[in-house]
Symmetry: C2
Subunit: 217 residues, 2 copies
DNA sequence: ATCTTACCCTTACACCGTAAGATTGCAAGC
DNA sequence: GCTTGCAATCTTACGGTGTAAGGGTAAGAT
């Protein structure tokens, strides 16, 4: 009543939706609540987005587009590495939205453009198309899994069961108890880097090699 | 009307729910439809599960419990490798349910028991607790990402946008076009193995080592 | 014969996405 | 100034959802 209501727009709706999701979580996100946050009725949103799914598409697009593409002047391997960190940073920027991003279809214009760009980057650091494709895929797996776990892992996912007590873990899970400190947030960076470097190193070398390098002749 | 209605039970509900989800997908899964599939009313389910979320918990538990634990007599590294494949097999056994498994909370009794078992397995193949914890984590990332992608990736996730045309890809995405064949289903095994072996090799060696192995003495 | 309990159903409520259409406000043409 | 037209917004309503509350019924215990 004090301030005049600001006009609706696709941009404003997207912003409000992102904020609402990060504030209350994806399951709580509804067109009616978004309308309330925007100061309008739910149906007004449909003038800008033909369906809730279209709006969610726009949010995912926004998230993907927010991934910073590393400087083309950098060495290929370094570019891929930085892109991996940029992807992870995106997930941490939209932690409640991210699980949707991870599962979202990628064969959309934005999706394939992104894939093409990344493939180009990876290709420069590998010997041939096949290595590039497989490295892209393997690193992609790792990134998606890490981002899922860091944003929705262990204690955050949905479940009706009450969390297990520290007591239970202390008595029944000696290994988990000893490992717990390496699972804490301050350790995430190091663990993430460890796996990423292993994949990058293996992917940019000609062949993984079993046991130790056995010269073929 | 022909056959007498079979009595309800938690087991029968779980079975029907798993079948329904794999047949119609998670978003289509509702208590009413499950009731219809069971030949009872939706509310009858609540006599065995206090909420839909509790039922979903049971489904996830079932999936986790279906992961085959490798023979303890095998060498540690081989056990971990087989467990990785067993996890992946679980995802492919419940492809429509799996995205929920990936995001589901793990600090439940079944969850921590599973983690403890896996940690024990990994620990036998590593030098210390820290290596075990980090390898567990990194491989877990990779597994979750790979399983998500193989069950819900590229063309399967939700989206309102129409899939991009082959024409668009042909004209705008030369790299994606050349890489496409390595993304096909027959190539999944090889790509999966490639990344997994890279992580296992790096995790079971004392230190990732930069450039090449530099003996400490 | 009565009571208890387990099982299943009926009804109802608040919430959801959205189809259909009414209403408002403003800008352009006369 | 008045009319027309269109874009933005709201109203109403429908069929779906999860589930709270309570009713009925049949089998077994006492």
């Amino acid at each position: 009543m004090a301030r005049k209501r600001e006009a609706l727009s696709a941009e404003r709706i997207v912003q409000a939706a992102l904020a609402l999701i990060e504030r209350e979580g994806l399951p709580e996100f509804s067109t009616r609540k978004l309308g309330a946050a925007l100061g309008c009725e739910a149906m007004s949103i449909y003038h800008f987005f033909p369906s809730k799914q279209h709006l969610l598409d726009a949010l995912v697009d926004r998230a993907i587009a927010s991934i910073e593409i590393p400087d083309a002047a950098l060495p290929p391997l370094e570019r891929v590495r930085r892109l991996a960190y940029a992807y992870r940073a995106m997930a941490h920027r939209y932690p409640r939205l991210y699980p949707l991003v991870a599962v979202h279809r990628l064969n959309t214009p934005t999706g394939v453009r992104f894939i093409e760009a990344v493939l180009g980057m990876v290709r420069e650091g590998t010997a041939d198309d096949e290595s590039a494709a497989r490295l892209f895929r393997a690193v992609g797996y790792y990134l998606a899994g890490a981002a899922i776990d860091e944003t929705a892992g262990y204690a955050k996912g949905p479940s009706a069961a009450e969390p297990v007590s520290g007591d239970f873990i202390e008595k029944q899970c000696p290994l988990l108890l000893r490992s717990a400190k390496y699972f804490q947030r301050p350790e995430w960076d190091k663990t993430f880097a460890l796996g990423l470097e292993a994949l990058l190193a293996a992917g940019t070398r000609p062949v993984p090699g079993r046991r130790r390098a056995k010269p073929r002749r």
